[in-house]
Symmetry: C2
Subunit: 240 residues, 2 copies
């Protein structure tokens, strides 16, 4: 079972995801995510690895499944969005063993963050990760340009890490070529978890705010507005 | 409470959404969605209206809230993606009454469809609706061009209705200017509901398949591949 946990609290985990975890004999996932479900894993074998050891983790999970165990591979949010689904499915299908699998969708981080900000995603949107580990930075910049030109609402995953602090500033510069300085920007850190934090600011100023690897940044389109502290994108272009 | 039901089966509705519905005295939503939760609404007042009467529906829901009732406004998928969240929040904030509200995120249709297809969304993606009711068709076409140029995986909402059959063909033509004919395309109709149907085909051929207003169409990026009937987008560009 390839399981999306949702944002990280039990109230936002689907019954299907919870059932998959409860029935599993082995749980594999990034240790931070395993901690989110610590109350559900008593007596289960845990394959917990640090970030960036995904391939090793998937291989161990696959070995357990080949040995006949019921295995749940977990990601926070939705397992199919920058998660583990692609890698593990590929490995399952390459394996000589006949392994049954299912992907259990979860509430994606972008939807959780949007709900906290109001309704910023109401119209067409683009999702871009600024992690340049597996994607050339030139392509990421091109995507930001394309999304800006198309007037998409833009959701930015992995906006910043300790090692990677300049990408978000470069993205801001690109976006300012297309959108007004006062375009609304929402930043949600730790959506749905302890220490959840919400900031509504502007395209001209947002990089001065605290942004880290647990943040999601949402850039409004040309129609997005802020009302009483909520960020709203209209459903269309007729009314403005 | 502004509630996303998820794809439409009770196993994929979050406990938070279910609780909001159970505690509500009044439920407002498109009648098709109300039917999805028919087992949860006994004894509640229902404001069910046909598609495209959203403003009237929100006004009635707001009146109930102003009268002191606990109201749940529901959408399928996530309420913040082409749903009711923007409209109702705007109306609440414009109202003189002090009404408390929360947005409850749901498993979005695009995540539900992706899970059924395999892992097509693993990398940056763009979500575009082909409904030209509130958005000029020229802008929609521009967005499709931009998303294609940025090599985004593209998720298409509202690909076709009885009235609107040509837009998807025009989109196909645009995309063929950027991507190979054999680019994988997934079509999921009624994701997570009775009569769920999954098709994996190609960019050159997909418009010949049955597509309707309950379908979601997912167009792969340049790296997406099909393996044993599953559609997979790799996490990056290094391995291909």
């Amino acid at each position: 079972m390839i399981v999306g946990l949702g944002p990280g609290n039990v109230l936002e985990m689907t019954p299907r995801a919870r059932q998959a975890i409860e029935q599993a004999e082995v749980i594999a996932g990034y240790t931070t995510y395993i901690k989110l479900i610590s109350n559900l894993i008593d007596g289960k074998k845990i394959i917990g690895t640090a970030m960036m050891q995904e391939i090793e983790r998937c291989r161990q999970a696959l070995d357990e499944a080949i040995a006949g165990k019921n295995v749940a591979v977990i990601s926070s949010g939705d397992a199919g969005v920058y998660g583990m689904a692609g890698l593990i499915i590929d490995m399952i299908l390459d394996s000589a063993a006949q392994i049954e699998f299912e992907v259990v969708a979860g509430v994606s981080a972008v939807n959780a963050a949007a709900a906290i900000l109001g309704a910023p995603l109401m119209h067409d949107f683009a999702v871009v990760s600024l992690s340049d580990l597996l994607t050339p930075w030139e392509l990421i910049k091109k995507r930001v340009n394309c999304a800006a030109e198309g007037d998409f609402v833009i959701a930015i995953y992995n906006p910043k890490s300790k090692r990677r602090v300049d990408n978000i500033v470069e993205v801001q510069k690109i976006l300012l070529n297309y959108r007004e300085k006062n375009t609304p920007v929402g930043i949600v850190t730790n959506a749905g978890r302890a220490n959840e934090r919400k900031i509504i600011t502007t395209l001209g100023n947002f990089t001065a705010e605290e942004i880290n690897m647990f943040s999601l940044v949402l850039i409004g389109n040309s129609q997005t507005y802020v009302k009483s502290g909520f960020m709203i994108t209209p459903r269309g272009y007729e009314n403005k």
